[in-house]
Symmetry: C2
Subunit: 324 residues, 2 copies
């Protein structure tokens, strides 16, 4: 994603995002030297901080206080970071965002406990929010995230799954945490219940739209744009939406089988990617992503006019229309 453009989109939040960044650095600090090294490395690797942005913007629909809302933003981002570290342990991913992963630099154990530590810190931060409903939302989100991770393992290499299986999986993998960012931002700022519901749904739909685009880009982008090999989802056995739409194509089907069996040649790998890219599966998937985007925009539309509303609309459009 074009980080510069995104930064412009939320330039209003600059000083508050600086507060979040500082608080994140405080949050990952502990009495263990090794843990500090691992966490700091992860922190410096950056990321778009899109979840904190959603939390902050959502809080603008209630009584906005950075001192309160930072706890939500930090908590959510820590969970996101924790799940990235644990993903790295699992997938043997050697690079993420072009940098070495925590796992590659240290080892699996440290990565696992670093993730555990970040999860625990996330919980510590959310407990600062007085409204205990926020604690429930976050813990429920974590449960769903974990179930999602396991189901992703179960569904791997399994072509005989439905679009519905896929959608349920990305809901847990991505949409639910973005949804929680919005919902918790609204809850923590004391927004009214209709606003909370709108923002929660908005986050959910944006998350769905975003993840589908992500899965499309994994197939259509170049290695350089992705910072990892194109088609790596498929190579790892993850069945995404375009694949589900393309799987019955007479040219694609046998190549897909070879790929999932792990017997595919380098040449056929490229052929498979080329065929999927040129099939109408990509467009079909884009349509589904777009449907979610429209639903997201429909939720925002119901919110009172404000610059935060405009920002949410712009970010949603940006996330769903990005080219890489």
């Amino acid at each position: 994603m074009d980080k510069m453009k995104l930064k412009l989109l939320y330039s209003d939040l600059k000083s508050d995002l600086d507060v979040i960044e500082k608080e994140l650095a405080t949050a990952v600090n502990s009495s263990s030297h090794l843990l500090n090294e691992a966490s700091l490395h992860l922190l410096l690797a950056g990321g778009k901080r899109i979840r904190p942005v959603f939390a902050l913007l959502s809080a603008k629909f209630g009584n906005y206080s950075i001192d309160t809302i930072k706890n939500v933003a930090v908590s959510i981002e820590l969970i996101h970071m924790a799940s990235l570290v644990h993903d790295d342990v699992i997938d043997d991913a050697e690079t993420r965002r072009g940098r070495e992963t925590v796992k590659a630099q240290w080892n699996n154990r440290v990565a696992m406990y670093t993730g555990d530590f970040l999860f625990a810190r996330a919980i510590e931060y959310i407990t600062v929010i007085e409204n205990t409903y926020a604690h429930e939302v976050l813990s429920h989100t974590m449960v769903e995230l974990c179930i999602g991770e396991i189901i992703q393992i179960e569904d791997k290499h399994f072509l005989d799954q439905t679009v519905r299986d896929y959608l349920r999986r990305i809901k847990r993998k991505t949409a639910i945490l973005i949804s929680a960012s919005c919902e918790l931002g609204a809850i923590a700022s004391g927004a009214d219940s209709k606003t909370i519901r709108n923002l929660k749904q908005f986050g959910y739909y944006v998350g769905m739209s975003f993840q589908i685009i992500d899965d499309i880009l994994d197939l259509t982008s170049t290695d350089e744009q992705l910072g990892k090999p194109a088609g790596s989802d498929l190579l790892q056995g993850n069945i995404t939406l375009p694949i589900l739409y393309a799987k019955n194509d007479p040219v694609i089907a046998p190549l897909l089988k070879e790929s999932l069996d792990g017997t595919i040649s380098e040449e056929n790998k490229h052929k498979l990617l080329r065929e999927v890219r040129n099939s109408d599966a990509i467009n079909k998937a884009k349509q589904i992503s777009n449907m979610y985007l429209q639903k997201a925009l429909n939720e925002v539309k119901q919110l009172p006019p404000s610059s935060a509303k405009k920002s949410l609309q712009n970010i949603a459009l940006f996330m769903s229309k990005r080219k890489f």
Copy 2:
């Protein structure tokens, strides 16, 4: 530990422990088949449920309600289970309590996410407790547990550590969770602040005493009694209290070095164990454990007389005096 004897010790709690057992089965249930299998396996492997027992007994010093307190007991036990699964991933332990570990039966990924799921569920359960201070205590406990795990890795194979380093490590590894069981039981039942403090401290001291005994038994018991090879802490590079007391012995020192370097022969392994067992290091360590036991009993003594008080005393004595 002699499971039968312990069961007798808390026979008063039988029906409430049945409630906990049922709730644990509900807690580990999810929409993922794989996750259910892994969690259930873990649940059936059992364990002494000593943390739930401490939570229940501590709650007796306030307004005891099993419907409330079960949430604390389940939450704490889930965290304990989660840390066992994650330990297994780490240590490549092939057996725990004589059964195959989750890791051995499935694989590392499933074990890691099973642990994550159990952690998340634990948080879900604690949020049911209305007093938000309970949420803070639990999240803080989790943070400390994780830091402890990392420090244990840092301190491995490192002989030049102090008794204080060891004590700080076992505090995080063991004592803090037992302490939280007692404290949270008291908080959730609305006990007064002095009682909460006494129980919290009691749990801490019992935990310290217990872990020191555990570390002694790892050296002095037979493979059969432990359900794993005797001396396995040392083989994994974990430096425990008896080792710290024995490390300067002229016969032991060179063997210890070989052991930590990984160059030790089978014969010398046995010799090392034998020498440590026959040294006065074991007795010195027992004295420290006993000091913590006395401190624990001193805390209980300050509580109002009740059958729960008597039970806490008996369990503390039992845990610190056990032979294997």
